[in-house]
């Protein structure tokens, strides 16, 4: 407890400086496309590329990241992913995949 409260002011100021710096460098890549996208007319292939980006990005975000759900046992994240895959195959609302995989991981953690 005292570790936190005894931190001096300069340290506090530098944490706020870090937060503001992070906020700026995080917002820039997010907002830049607002000004780029209308500057020039997109060639057709760029349009097709942009339309494919969501699928490519989803793939890259899912794997191998899902294996780090439990960094010591990659199989646990894998099991959660398979359960999500099976549930979402039935074209139900995404929420069921989310809840089903959480449940599967909770159960898997009891056994592994």
């Amino acid at each position: 407890m005292n570790d936190v409260t005894s931190m001096n002011n300069s340290n506090n100021i530098s944490i706020y400086a870090i937060i503001i710096g992070m906020a700026i460098v995080t917002y820039i890549p997010r907002v830049l496309p607002v000004f780029i996208m209308e500057r020039f007319k997109m060639p057709k292939w760029v349009n097709r590329w942009l339309q494919s980006i969501p699928y490519a990005a989803l793939g890259a975000l899912i794997f191998p990241g899902i294996l780090t759900v439990d960094s010591e046992v990659p199989a646990i994240g894998f099991i959660g992913g398979v359960v999500a895959l099976i549930i979402s195959w039935f074209k139900v609302n995404v929420i069921f995949s989310v809840l089903g995989s959480i449940l599967a991981v909770m159960i898997a953690k009891m056994f592994i």
């Binding site: 936190v4 931190m7 530098s14 944490i15 706020y16 870090i18 937060i19 503001i20 710096g21 992070m22 906020a23 460098v25 995080t26 890549p29 997010r30 907002v31 830049l32 496309p33 607002v34 000004f35 780029i36 996208m37 997109m42 097709r48 590329w49 942009l50 339309q51 494919s52 980006i53 969501p54 699928y55 490519a56 990005a57 989803l58 793939g59 890259a60 975000l61 899912i62 191998p64 990241g65 899902i66 759900v69 994240g77 959660g80 992913g81 359960v83 999500a84 895959l85 979402s88 195959w89 074209k91 995404v94 929420i95 995949s97 989310v98 809840l99 995989s101 959480i102 991981v105 953690k109």
Partner: protein, 237 residues
Amino acid sequence: MFLITEKKNYTTGVMKGIKAAIPIAIGYFPIAIAFGVISVQSGISLIQATSMSLMVFAGASQFMAAGMIGSGAGAGEIILATFILNLRHFIMSMTVMHRFRNLSKKSTAALAFGVTDETFAVLSMKEENSDLQEEKLFAASLILTSYASWVIGTIIGGIFVDVIPQSISASMSVGLYAMFIGLLVPAVRESWKTGIIAVSGMALCWIFSRFMDTGWAIILATILAGLIGVGKNERCD
């Protein structure tokens, strides 16, 4: 008559946005709680952790920053690492802004703040709506609901540091991956070419992540796997 139509658009757009954000909000909540807990444990105050969630709104980089602050890393180092990790949002925001190209720049600049992996995933997989007002309200309410979950979770985690069992939030971190899968699978069922692009993204990201940081691996894998889509549907356009 006019008023009634506008009002209908207003509520349907907002309600659809909130509904679409529920999986994100459920996924964010335990992760945000974990972030609050870890921040306070690394010597970041509750107000500072909350400010970070309010101003940065990018989960992975916030965890990294909390860890780096805890281990005494310098400000420049932390900010640079944040930039690299969050650069992937540039690619994602390009897709989102392409969809919203007909909205005013003021609106899109505001919406841009809320482009995360998850909001991007839901926004980009949704069918385009020709009703601009509804499209804008949908996006805004989706982002605000997700944002609220992220910020409130951080506060709760920071307050109840000692009471929250780590195991629960650990199990729930699979939720966001499940959401990505849940968004991807229906698209793959409709067009197997989508599946090829996604699996290429996975394979490339896996290969790249052995040689570089996660942020770069995701960026490169997304750009390259997306290029596979350039060749497809040549005739259908």
